[in-house]
């Protein structure tokens, strides 16, 4: 039994692809989005590649958990100070691209005191839906998956070149979100233990 497993797992015929490329191919479609400043950006090339990022989904007219999460992320942005746009990039993607044009998102940005280094993004509905699924903002129960509130509670954060990705609740205490992020861009801030 063991020998069969070993042959298929470690065959030298296997084409070698880096794990970074495998993760990119699996999770980061390079779709074109538009920023709240109406600038086109490619999701992987322009937003993710070589960066530490924070990603969440929202929409401008959402009244449930959205405002609280946006305010919480604004606290995160403040706490990160000048690291935002340099060490850490923040992206909020609309779940309702049909109604959230760049102009609508630009108004939202102004209303919520969002600073530079944090982009709000819209795009083709099919591309946005693809991103939502690829990034795992999904619920296996179709009824709950259709409920936008279920997709809005999460924050993804990660270090693309280091291939470190995690998620936390959007309403987690802002200082804890900042500390978790610091583990991604600052080796010295990592809790004790081996470097992964």
């Amino acid at each position: 039994m063991a020998s069969i497993a070993r042959r298929s797992l470690f065959s030298r015929q296997t084409v070698r692809r880096s794990s970074r490329d495998a993760i990119r191919a699996r999770y980061f479609p390079n779709v074109v989005l538009r920023t709240h400043e109406d600038r086109p950006v490619r999701f992987y090339d322009d937003l993710i590649k070589d960066k530490v990022v924070v990603i969440n989904f929202m929409y401008a007219t959402c009244e449930g958990v959205c405002p609280g999460i946006t305010l919480n992320l604004a606290r995160v942005q403040k706490l990160l100070g000048d690291r935002i746009g340099r060490d850490v990039f923040m992206y909020s993607i609309t779940l309702k691209p049909e109604q959230d044009s760049p102009a609508v998102l630009n108004d939202y940005v102004a209303m919520h005191g969002v600073g530079p280094g944090w982009l709000f993004l819209t795009g083709d509905p099919a591309d946005v839906e693809l991103l939502r699924r690829k990034l795992g903002f999904v619920n296996p129960d179709p009824r709950l998956d259709a409920d936008s509130a279920e997709q809005i509670g999460n924050i993804r954060y990660g270090n693309e070149p280091r291939q470190l990705w995690a998620a936390c609740p959007g309403l987690a205490a802002a200082p804890w979100i900042v500390e978790s992020l610091s583990w991604l861009y600052d080796e010295r801030a990592r809790p004790s233990g081996e470097r992964r």
């Binding site: 039994m1 497993a5 797992l9 794990s19 619920n139 809005i152 993804r156 987690a172």
Partner: protein, 330 residues
């Protein structure tokens, strides 16, 4: 791991199989990528299932044993799969092969109980005694027959014997050796269960999914948030609720062992009558447990032990102090 009764020497105390006949079996499942590298899907929040099964870190191993009794210490090392272990003779899969369960989560049962299978969720442990003398010259397989197709929990199906996951093959090919361990059937008692007492408070915990992650009583974990305080030297009842037909959760409570008082209104039977520290909370189940806290103070967590749920906020912190509180839904 041992004490004055469970001595690690099969000629003393309870005379349980000892030394090289006392073997931990740590069971887990992993995903490998096309390069043979371990892969962990960091974008999956439901639970991770592997397609390769490992026992003590080896894929599909075999174990040459002597025809005598062994104590096997089963641990479900996760990250998300539940197991229902059977012994199967693949040449005669229809034959039921009973064995003896002697412990739950590291606590000896009141006495050994003969069983045909053991069902454990992530982080649960069960020690079993298997007498391989009945299989001398043959092989038997440790088989998981519980069906689970995603990280949410097993789907309730038990596959036919021989058609489950073959985790470990025992080859009973080594020569006969002395067996000084006691036959489990003749062990009348290990320990009585600790006596119960009226609770100071009954607290309820709902384990649920909300806002895309995992919650207890509608809230996410914050390690600075003391959700409730227990008065030291008191007993409490805790009601663990899963109002979902879609998820199962292995609930791990730190620091003290507990006893099951009722499971969906029914008193515990058989091997469920024991001290435990992980509770398998099935679909739509409600389980009431008794926990007694000793004279230690400090900070402790309880959490779902599906590692993916645990890492995504299904955890809370409680403290033990001099005064405690009476919060019934922390």
């Amino acid at each position: 791991m041992f004490n004055d009764k469970d001595t690690g020497d099969e000629t003393t105390g309870f005379r349980l199989p000892s030394g090289k006949f006392d073997v931990p079996l740590v069971v887990s499942d992993k995903v490998f990528d096309e390069n043979g590298q371990l892969f962990f899907d960091l974008f999956n929040l439901d639970g991770i299932l592997g397609d390769k099964f490992l026992v003590n870190g080896k894929i599909q191993p075999f174990f040459q044993v002597h025809p005598r009794r062994y104590r096997l210490r089963l641990l479900d090392a996760g990250p998300s799969r539940f197991y229902q272990f059977f012994l199967t003779d693949l040449n005669s899969p229809g034959t039921t092969l009973p064995f003896w369960q002697i412990s739950n989560d590291g606590n000896l049962l009141p006495k050994p109980i003969q069983v045909t299978n053991v069902l454990i969720s992530v982080a649960e442990r069960a020690d079993i005694i298997v007498d391989f003398s009945q299989f001398a010259g043959r092989s038997v397989v440790l088989e998981n027959r519980l069906e689970q197709t995603d990280g949410r929990g097993p789907n309730g199906n038990v596959r036919p014997a021989g058609q489950g996951d073959h985790l470990l093959r025992f080859d009973v090919v080594l020569p006969p050796v002395a067996d000084n361990s006691q036959h489990p059937a003749t062990i009348a008692k290990f320990y009585d269960l600790p006596t119960l007492e009226p609770p100071r408070v009954t607290r309820t915990f709902r384990f649920e999914r909300g806002n895309g992650q995992w919650q207890i009583n509608g809230r996410f974990f914050d390690c600075n948030d003391v959700r409730f305080r227990i008065k030291k030297n008191t007993a409490e009842h805790w009601v663990l609720q899963n109002n979902s037909g879609g998820w199962q959760h292995p609930i791990h409570i730190h620091f003290e062992e507990f006893q099951i008082l009722s499971r969906n209104g029914q008193p515990p039977q058989g091997t469920q009558r024991s001290r435990k520290d992980v509770m398998r909370l099935g679909f739509n189940e409600e389980i009431e447990i008794f926990v007694r806290f000793r004279d230690f103070v400090g900070r402790y967590p309880q959490h779902c032990h599906n590692t993916v749920h645990e890492d995504h906020a299904m955890m809370l912190r409680w403290d033990i102090d001099e005064t405690g509180d009476l919060n019934t839904e922390p």
